[in-house]
Symmetry: C2
Subunit: 227 residues, 2 copies
């Protein structure tokens, strides 16, 4: 009985919600949405699939928690000296960049009920809308429109990344789309063909911001009508 077999070194810390969620994020980032499996996750945590259920109610909650974790690190403090316009741009860009780094977050945000992570962003957009002196009756519409736009771009970006072969890069992909557009029927797709070239020198971030600016212009114009 002298030589008791030592425990495998692997089993360092006990399981915890925190460890599970961070392992899930890792899995999602490296193997993609389809790679997050209770079996794969259990293996990575050196345990059985059932163990995870003691800390997390199921896959839905796990995905929500992973999304929360990523969005939380992205949403930093407000720069108090920024103008409302720039604060909103910074907020929107934060979400945009988080999704570019973790495409599965885009899928998740557009599908999850508007609760949890996006509510915090809605609040901060709303405060800046107030700072823009938007009349109270129009504040909700303004903040909602900005949110919907951000989520729309988020979803499309995530979809694009999902379509993308892991090998090919962004510009190659845009080039392929542009070529496909240029080969469309000239009668049915006159407009699409006319803007196809623009795709080739396309900057996702800049385009996203231009859309934000468009909405902000609309919000401001409402207060001081042109005509």
């Amino acid at each position: 009985m002298a030589t008791r077999t030592r425990r495998p070194e692997r089993r360092q810390e006990p399981l915890s919600r925190e460890r599970i969620v961070s392992a899930a994020v890792e899995l999602l980032d490296t193997v993609g949405e389809s790679g997050l499996t209770f079996r794969a996750l259990a293996e990575r945590l050196a345990t059985g699939p059932g163990a995870i259920y003691w800390h997390v109610s199921g896959k839905t909650e796990l995905l929500a928690a992973a999304t929360d974790a990523v969005v939380a690190t992205t949403v930093t403090e407000d720069e108090t000296d920024a103008t409302p316009w720039n604060a909103i741009r910074a907020l929107a860009l934060g979400v945009f960049d988080a999704i570019e780094a973790h495409p599965w977050v885009g899928t998740q945000l557009t599908q999850a009920p508007p609760q949890s992570p996006m509510l915090h962003i809605f609040e901060r957009i709303g405060r800046q809308v107030q700072a823009l002196q938007v009349p109270e009756a129009a504040q909700f519409t303004a903040a909602s429109a900005l949110m919907s736009y951000i989520l729309g771009v988020a979803g499309q970006n995530a979809a694009n990344t999902r379509t993308l072969q892991p090998g090919t890069d962004r510009t190659e992909f845009l080039d392929a789309v542009a070529t496909a557009w240029e080969e469309l029927d000239p009668d049915q797709y006159a407009f699409t063909r006319s803007v196809a070239g623009r795709l080739r020198k396309h900057d996702d971030r800049a385009e996203f911001l231009a859309g934000i600016d468009l909405i902000l212009t609309g919000i401001s114009a409402r207060q001081q009508p042109t005509a």
Copy 2:
């Protein structure tokens, strides 16, 4: 040998891509996204699951085809006498209504690559943007922003419907959300609390259109700067 058993009457028409897709739409509408199963679909078509694969390459294609089928019926002809603003509103409302009638279409549109059904809508929005006299360099941004906004609302609507218990209705749901918002921490969620009441007398369609108008205002304001 006189009494040969007759074939069951069920087996009317032969299988076809068309019949498969329309059965899939029916299943999605009645039982929801999780109800669309190759086994369930096969049973409804009085055949085995394998038969479907002869007409359709897999589930991804099946979902895309089902989405195409629904969107195609929604996109009617342009009313040629409408102003560009109204034409864009009508276009956007068409997508909005299709998703309200078939929530799974919202999920699908926001996740599918921007190809197929939305490309047609993009084209038609683009033509109206041209009709608005938007300078060529700004047309792509304008049409893209409108599309992203529409897809964003589509996704949120689909997510809300998915969250909704099949029993409860829309106003009950909004009331519950409003109550939840009003119970948030006043320091952290001052803005969200201040707009919660507005949710109670909230009209999804009107709010959606208000967002479209905001973007259109932004697009127009760019041409005749206020200052």
